[in-house]
Amino acid sequence: MKNYTLLPFNFTRLLGKEVLVNELGDMLITPIGTANKIVEHSINNEELYKSLVANFFISEELLPSLLDIYASRLRLKKSFLDDRTALHIFVLTLRCNQNCIYCQASSREEGSKHCSMTYKMMEQSVHLMFRSHSPSLTMEFQGGEPSLEPTLIKYGIELAEEINQKECRDISYVLCTNCRNLTDDLLELCKRYHVLISTSLDGPSYIHNKNRGREDSYEKTIAGIQKARMILGDEAVSALMTTSELALDYPKEIVDEYVQDGFTDIFLRALNPYGLASENENWEYYNERFVAFYKAALDYIIYLNKQGTFFREVYASIILRKMLTPYTTGFVDLQSPAGTVNSVLIYNYDGYVYASDESRMLAENGDYTFRLGKISDKYEDIVYGEKVRNMGKIWANEALAGCSDCPVKAYCGADPVRHHSTQGDMYGFRPSSFVCKKNKAIIEYLISLLIERGDEVMPIFRSWLR
């Protein structure tokens, strides 16, 4: 073995192995003590040595000839930044026709009049959306229940289409709906403009209905999914679930429900501590149970894949994409620099622009920390204003205490909004952060699967990421 210099890397220990992670998030699973041997120049395994050089952990030259390539790969990892804000969420109204126990949106009664966006706000918001330089834009309609404002949706899409004649961006539309109100007219609109439907399906009826506060919710959701699929095609309909306390006991049943209903993806999401959901007191207990639920559900999903059913877990896929591929990811909650503003902006029914989905939920509780400006303000004042600049100082986990020397930093992200809302401090205090605990537990679990069951799970994971 030749003389070598170190390149930046970190390490952790799991299941009797030492996991080395370099600056890109490339990972090597090695025997315990390898990090120390590298530093002491006492590596005695030639194949391990070659892998360390090939994977940018050590360099045989003082200034690596391939540093430009390393830099190019680093740029690719962060290339989600190049596009600037691609996801634009339009919260049309707080009105809703359901009463979900964990509503993050603090929804109001269906009949109330004062909680919707005006046409003027929609017009200004669409213009703001196009001020982002991103070559691809996603216009996502949320609420309350956005399908209660079909004319506003129509107006918004048609205005965007008109402006896009000149702008020529790659624009896509998403309607987040509970499917109770998918009228023929609305679906016709969706068909014309290739609007994707994103709905909530929490699991089998006994879970879904309990969560949604109405007895026919499951029925209506399934009927809506089928109707939407028939008119728009299977690929146009996707579903998310939120793991309520009841759901925690039924990982297998929830996955089975999704498979039965013809879905090929599931996103196992934990509860957010916002809106009505924050009445749940014991977050520590919930968090522990959620991690156990997640592992059980993921194990079952892997089992299904082995039996020949292609079925992907979305959250794992995002982390695995960071771990196993050279590519960037665009999921707002797991990014550094943070997804707020960089990847997403919210145009709210109250006439204001917010830094993220969770930012506007804080506002419903009287906390306007992440309200960036009025929809009628100038783009530059909103996006380069003081609030964003302050966030900019603390939104990269490479520069946060607890994160900067965390071995799995590359697979995680910064979440100033969540830390502000749960700890009262955007910067965040990692030791007691539930976001940190949850993310770390899931990331380490995925790494353990690679260590213990690598041959079994790698082909499955690859099929999820192609």
């Binding site: 210099t5 170190l6 390149l7 930046p8 890397f9 970190n10 390490f11 600056e23 990090a35 120390n36 530093v39 200034l63 690596p64 540093l67 430009d68 390393y70 830099a71 190019s72 680093l74 740029r75 962060k78 330089h133 530059e380 380069y384 205490a401 607890g402 020397d405 205090f429 990692r430 030791p431 007691s432």
Partner: protein, 96 residues
């Protein structure tokens, strides 16, 4: 519980990081005595396990510190190479 740590072996930064990670569960007071740092920790149930845990973390951070020290220059060059020309884009946007 009292822990004595030789500051010639473990730097302030190293010790601070371990203290950071334990500070949500324990109250820790630090003071210097000569070249040793003395930590007074409240609320420790099992002193033996705590000491093992503490030194395991301390050794890991020390090793990370060595790696960081040896690689900080190359890391700076790497980031400069990777993101150096981003400045052009920012300027162009702000002058609009």
């Amino acid at each position: 519980m009292i822990l004595q740590i030789d500051r010639n072996i473990y730097s302030d930064s190293c010790i601070s990081k371990v203290v950071y990670w334990l500070s949500d569960q324990y109250t820790i007071e630090r003071r210097m005595e000569g070249c040793n740092e003395i930590l007074q920790i409240e609320g420790v149930a099992d002193e033996h396990s705590f000491k093992n845990l503490f030194f395991e973390k301390l050794n890991d951070f020390k090793l990370r510190g060595i790696i960081e020290n040896e690689t900080k220059d190359i890391r700076t060059i790497l980031y400069a190479k990777a993101f150096g020309d981003f400045d052009d884009i920012t300027e162009e946007v702000i002058t609009e």
